[in-house]
Amino acid sequence: MTNYLRFILIFIWTPLIILGGLNFELLVRYRKTLLLTIFFTLLFGIPWDALSVGTKLWWYNLSPTLGNWYFLGLPIEEFILTMSFPILVGCLVFTFIKKDKS
């Protein structure tokens, strides 16, 4: 497993699985919201990321990424992170805002 994937697994997916498990019903019910959030995160996040890599603001280490799966200069792990992040934020909202109202 690559370092970047390990980072995502430990720091993004672990809280996501815990919060997602607690809010599974809401995740399914509000899947449209999650899909829309993922779509817009990709729409704005990927060009931002690509611009940052293109202007050498930040870079990704070639060795600890999943093979040579690159698109717009970004490793596949970056896409995984970009798609996981809005779900994690969605779970946070379900836990602290939505549940309060229901």
Partner: protein
């Protein structure tokens, strides 16, 4: 291009217009949740503050020292803290508004497109389309 302010500039330019857009058009929905959105954004920022340096330590990514302010807070790059706060503020606001629409069985996407056209017409007055044309275009998307 922006020297040491590049990271900060990109973060502000990619988040503030979108936050402004959401809070301008959907203020009645967001305003009552302001404290919760702020609290959650701070909580998420604190989490990012704790975990993001591990990304650097694990060599997942790196920054060009010529393009960041080189100000750190307990080893965390200042712009990373700003990034976490603004990105989570934006996403939490977005999810909150979208949930409001979904609860009312209305399309948030259609509303976003309609309001985006209003902004575009404001920025580019030559893009004058009638209201019915905009509505027609929004409908055409679906």
């Amino acid at each position: 291009m922006f020297g040491h302010g590049t990271y900060l500039f990109y973060t502000l330019i990619f988040t503030l217009p979108l936050i402004g857009f959401l809070w301008f058009f959907y203020r009645p929905i967001l305003r009552p949740c302001l404290k919760k959105i702020l609290g959650l954004s701070l909580l998420a920022t604190f989490y990012g503050f704790l975990v993001w340096p591990y990304g650097l330590k694990m060599s997942c990514w790196g920054y060009s020292e010529a393009k960041i302010l080189n100000i750190t807070l307990f080893g965390v790059v200042l712009e990373d803290i700003v990034w976490w706060f603004l990105v989570t503020w934006l996403l939490i606001s977005f999810v909150t508004v979208s949930l409001h629409f979904e609860n009312r069985k209305q399309s948030f996407l259609a509303s976003l497109i309609k309001n985006a056209f209003r902004v575009l017409r404001l920025i580019f007055p030559f893009l004058k389309t009638s209201r019915s044309q905009t509505d027609g275009l929004t409908l055409a998307v679906f």
